[in-house]
Symmetry: C2
Subunit: 242 residues, 2 copies
């Protein structure tokens, strides 16, 4: 029986990878992943057999992983951030019904909502929503319904995929929708290239987000009524009396 570990590698650096994730990659006969993420793996794994597929080839990538594992190999299917949250684990389970000789294990990782929240300060202290602005698999109407629901109920929001080459204005559209609900001066932040060499962040306000640089490698944080800026960091208080 082959083993398929679906591995969340965290933001990219070894520091923010878990021991289980590292070990699963180390012990793998073959590593499979999205081309851009495979490049982030620690140097010591670069001489292993690596199969990579491009963006939007997720189904193909999962089928390769299942086939390789079904042939008896130990496979690590790597996902940036977590293996489940916007990752491949669900698709693997769905497709696995055709592969009887595969033992699947899902290894969680630090998703960008979590790693980015620490980078900008303590962005998410309390209840929160994680919403991707990508309309590739989710209708735009559903995305905006979620945004509005989260803002109206005073949750902190972490936005994944805030913009892309074909969605240059999606962050601005989201901000415009949020400006109808929450104060324009609500603390917000952009975390960029978390855990990578070019890591950076900007703490701003909701209205300020419209002028703040964000790209495909950014995670955007929208504060709630408990958010504040302390020493240039964005924090969200939990409610302790101090």
């Amino acid at each position: 029986m082959g083993i398929l570990n679906v591995v969340g590698i965290g933001p990219g650096n070894k520091e923010n990878m878990t021991f289980a994730a590292y070990d699963a990659i180390k012990e793998a006969d073959v590593i499979i992943g999205y081309t851009a993420y495979v490049k982030l793996l620690p140097e010591e794994f670069k001489n292993k057999e690596i199969l990579s597929t491009g963006m939007r080839a997720e189904k193909e990538r999962c089928e390769i992983a299942l086939r390789e594992a079904n042939s008896g190999k130990k496979v690590a299917l790597v996902c940036s951030g977590d293996s489940v949250v916007y990752g491949m684990a669900g698709l693997i389970y769905e497709l696995s019904e055709d592969y009887s000789d595969v033992e699947i294990k899902v290894i969680p990782g630090v998703s960008a909502a979590i790693s980015g929240s620490a980078l900008i300060g303590a962005g998410i202290g309390n209840d929160f929503a994680v919403i991707s602005l990508s309309d590739y698999l989710t209708p735009k109407e559903t995305i905006f319904k979620r945004l509005v629901a989260a803002a109206k109920s005073d949750m902190v929001i972490a936005l994944y995929n805030p913009v892309s080459k074909t969605r240059k204005d999606s962050l601005i559209e989201a901000v415009d929708a949020l400006l109808e609900i929450i104060d324009k001066d609500t603390p917000c932040a952009v975390a960029r290239n978390i855990g990578r060499e070019e890591e950076s962040y900007t703490v701003t306000t909701l209205i300020g987000l419209k002028e703040t640089e964000a790209d495909m490698f950014s995670t955007v944080f929208i504060g709630n009524s408990m958010s504040a800026v302390v020493n240039g960091k964005m924090i969200t208080r939990r409610g302790y009396k101090i």
Copy 2:
């Protein structure tokens, strides 16, 4: 200058701890944390200086950490799961203004929404909300407003602190509120003692949650319209055509 690392240790086992978290604890002169979580630390740290405080002594715990760091020590303030999400990082930043000689670093960890989601299958594949049912710091009205908002906008929901000694019925109350909005057969799950020896999980339905055991060490997952049960696991599809 002293160093204060606010460390998310993940669910408890070393496997799901990041390298950065482990190293911060290893290099610490003193470890500070909630009594129950300090016990979860790997054996090799048990001979270090450890200061622990009880539940709800969060402010005291943070002040001890800041004082120890301010005296020049290297401090690891450990939090279960993540250091920010329902963790101590925000409070540390708030209180830090009185301590000028402390360098603060926040080290993220795998929060229970993420580790539990992997344990039950692939619970969170898409947009989601994380909501704590504890009304210690958040009014119950706000909590239920968030629950309703998340369910109405078809987000997966991860519930933290589903019950406690003084809130024996809070999960049942939450399920009753959700039954007004989403189908009673929606896939749901309970993850218990994630990453610990007694780890277990149950996959059920929304109505089934009313009969499913959950305690203070459980995280509850409420599916959305994309959730399904595959081979006894709860998954939430992202929307790929298969």
